[in-house]
Amino acid sequence: MDKAVADLATAVAGIEDGMTVMIGGFGGSGGPIELIHALIDRYLATGHPKNLTVINNNAGNGHVGLAALIEQGMVKKLICSFPRSADPVVFTERYRAGEIELELVPQGTLAERIRAGGAGIPAFYTPTSYGTDLAAGKPVEEFEGRPYVRERWLKADYALVKAHVGDRLGNLTYRMAARNFGPLMCMAAKTTVVQVSHLVEPGGIDPEAVVTPGIFVQKVVEVASPAQEEELNRAKAVYPEAK
């Protein structure tokens, strides 16, 4: 078995119109910029995929990565906790124009819903959001006299995740706080596609240090020196470069 694929285009080939796609990252850290840009390349060449539902903590920053995906008009709906950033102009404009739907989810609930999707837990109760507008319409139940809101799992057709070291079986480690949603999204998607900075043979990762076991990963592609969203934005980068 070898989950490594040769290039980014192959890695994102299966994503189709209308699919739900989880995209890792918190702000810029952990954002799979190269996978996202490969998806944009495909859209520019073929007109697909479009009408995507994207699950990410944020809504993109500047004009690269998730923001660029939104800027192309590929995203129909965004499920996120914090659609603000240093430069949220792309999302903000689309949102104000009514061109993109937003489901706002508290950050911890977002993480837990994704984990639940991966763990076969269709619903769980959380104290978070009780008594707030974000609990509107959700079932409430008391346990030991305290009220809790019932939340549903989140699953996706695809997850696009950035990891640090990956082996050909899909075992992964992450780099510092770029870990964030990655391990959860790997669990919750039918097909998880991971860009790794270092592709190694099985055995190249200490079995104790594996963060995402390979069972949660379907495709691995090596991107040796990945771009960092924060640095791209400081350089005022735009993707694609020439419109």
Partner: protein, 223 residues
């Protein structure tokens, strides 16, 4: 020559259906033997409930590391690509539908796919382990079982009489006499020992065997 398949032979047959790269959980006891009979060129990745993916075969006696055991508490070994994780992540793999195949033992299987394999009734100390989790989530849930009990009564039934492990969960049965799929709440016969007529097999089975297509001879090497 074989009136019925031995557990080893059932394990061999079950192993033939496991694809290269499949993620597989083998139940404690006879199903564990399935790992030994993977066809050449195929390499499944074995999961054990206690938090290992991709472990290797048993070590030589005296070389056991008792922190490196499977769910049956038997020593196993590391392989390149092994991963360790905790119990909640391990059962996320199970419940979350990430396993391709789970192969379990059975006391009784019903044509509805109901399985009873954890309790023989109110006597004795009840123990369930991971069986009730394993029957949910794996894409294929197969059982490996003698076709009849030691005293000759059918184990494949219209309804289970023993406490259930799961409802409507079994998709294929590797019995000592036949290979049977469960589809639409019926036992669908796929393979049987050539020495046995369909009528003879039906007489040993507690619910109707449906035969929608050709029945393949179940031929297994002497093991």
């Amino acid at each position: 020559m074989t009136a019925k398949l031995s557990p080893t032979q059932m394990a061999w047959r079950a192993a033939q259906d496991i694809e290269d790269g499949a993620y597989v959980n083998l139940g404690i006891g006879f199903p564990e033997m399935v790992a030994k009979f993977q066809p050449p060129g195929r390499q499944a990745i074995f999961h054990t409930e206690n938090g290992i993916l991709g472990f290797g075969e048993a070590p030589k006696p005296g070389e056991e590391d008792w922190d490196l055991i499977n769910a049956g508490k038997k020593a196993v070994t590391l392989k390149p690509g092994t991963a360790f994780f905790h119990h909640a992540d391990s059962f996320a793999m199970v419940r979350g539908g990430h396993l391709d195949v789970a192969i379990l033992g059975a006391y009784e299987v019903a044509e509805t796919g109901d399985l009873a394999n954890w309790s023989t009734g109110p006597k004795g100390v009840p123990a369930v382990g991971g069986a009730m989790d394993l029957v949910h989530g794996a894409r294929r849930v197969a059982v490996m079982t003698d076709h009849v009990t030691k005293d000759g009564r059918p184990k494949l039934l219209k309804h289970c009489t023993l406490p259930l492990t799961g409802v409507g969960c079994v998709t294929r049965i590797y019995s000592s006499l036949a290979v049977i799929d469960i589809e639409g709440g019926r036992f669908v016969l796929r393979e049987k020992l050539p020495s046995l007529s369909l009528d003879e097999l039906q007489a040993l089975t507690g619910a109707e065997l449906v035969v929608p297509g050709p029945v393949v001879d179940l031929i297994v090497p002497d093991l």
